[in-house]
Amino acid sequence: MKPPAFDYVVADSLDMAAAALAEAGDEAKIIAGGQSLVPMLNFRLLRPSVLVDINRITRLAFIEEAGETIRIGALTRHFQLETSALVARHLPVLSCAMTHVAHLAIRNRGTIGGSLSHADPAAELPMLALLLDATLDVVSAAVTRSIAARDFFVEAMTVDLGADEIVTEITLPKLPQHTGWGFEEVARRHGDFALAAAAATLTVSDGAITQARIALTGVGPTPLRASEAEALLVGEALGTGLTARVIAAVRGAIEPETDLHASSDYRRHLAGVLAGRAVSAAWRRANEGGA
């Protein structure tokens, strides 16, 4: 349970980090919070030759308002997201989700860029990035690019990110007016990875839903949007019959794995229940005035 030997580079700037990654080829890993990476090193599931530490690039840690979006630096710690007044005001579903992310000691260290790049199939932040139509900014020594969250998550723990690339920033559109939200999760103990979780936002105008977003995690190799269920909601008012059809559509869209913690059938059932609750909560909040 001790990590293998590696060389260690402290990057004081993004340029220095990008250069170190470019030099190391496929052999390097970035270390930010290290809350997922260090366990993998301790188990020797990973044996990078170089760790590039980006913790001192403090300009990557920020939460800012920019027009109709909230910009979040990749090095922003989970605890900062959890307690940010800007996030609470414009993205309350994200504030709520953060209280389910691990434990305080881990939230003090873990970063949004790290969580998205690691892409655990049962993590909350990848689901929220997908729900909220996030855009990720990525740099390497050679190029700078932006990628939508819906294109970023490729497979379990696999994202569209080269070995030489660093996520620098995440941009999230603020919730529109008259938008309600819901977040529901079941885990074996508080702070553990989800057995299943669902989050939803509903934008309502004149008593009808104009935009519906439902995202799920823990039920497949990547987080996913329940697009068929979303389509059922648009143009409608939420009632018992519609909620039941949304739940059925969510269950029909997923093929969860069976593992030590839960069977595939249980996870499918649970995802439906949680999506139904999340949508109902979103509808209630939207009609109370919403975010």
């Binding site: 349970m1 030997a5 290290g34 260090v38 434990h103 305080l104 000691a105 260290r109």
Partner: protein, 161 residues
């Protein structure tokens, strides 16, 4: 073996300089390098919470950090809280409420509770339990640990009045 690095870490108020391999975990540096064996090492992958310390005042798992990452920073371990005969209020409360049996988890519980007490109102037992969810105890059933923290919260509220 990768080359060692010179680090200077403030631990419990004193600066310690050492040459460390990059892969040396902070927990092992504290225990083997500095002889501060109050920090316990349980799972070594961030699940049990026994190795929790404060890094620049914020709780962190010392098994999920390298000593080299603490260069220039301040670490507080359970030894900073008090000594026998001079325990702090949280330690006294653990003692008074029988919040430990074997004591293995206690350093992590104390350091976690120290951070929780600073950051959250802990208005309900549910909030205390959620806050302790990252620290495993196999003896107490947590009941007495929750009571001990509850008592500190109550004392603090009394002092504020």
């Amino acid at each position: 073996m990768s080359r060692t690095r010179e680090i200077a870490v403030t631990v419990n108020g004193s600066v310690h300089c050492a040459a460390v391999e990059p892969r040396l975990l902070l927990a092992d540096f504290l225990r083997h390098g500095l002889g501060l064996t109050g920090t316990h090492v349980g799972c070594e992958h961030g699940v049990c919470g026994a190795c929790t310390v404060l890094l620049d005042g914020d709780s962190a798992r010392s098994c999920l950090m390298f000593a080299v990452q603490a260069d220039g920073r301040s670490v507080e371990t359970v030894e900073s809280l008090g000594r026998i005969g001079q325990m702090n209020a949280l330690q006294e409360s653990f003692h008074a409420h029988h919040a430990l049996q074997c004591g293995f988890c206690t350093p992590g519980m104390l350091m976690t509770a120290t951070d929780l007490l600073r950051k959250y109102p802990l208005a309900t037992d549910a909030e205390i339990r959620a806050g302790l969810s990252g620290n495993l105890c196999r003896c107490t059933g947590y009941e007495h640990i929750v009571k001990a923290i509850r008592a500190v919260v109550a004392d603090r509220a009394g002092d504020a009045k």
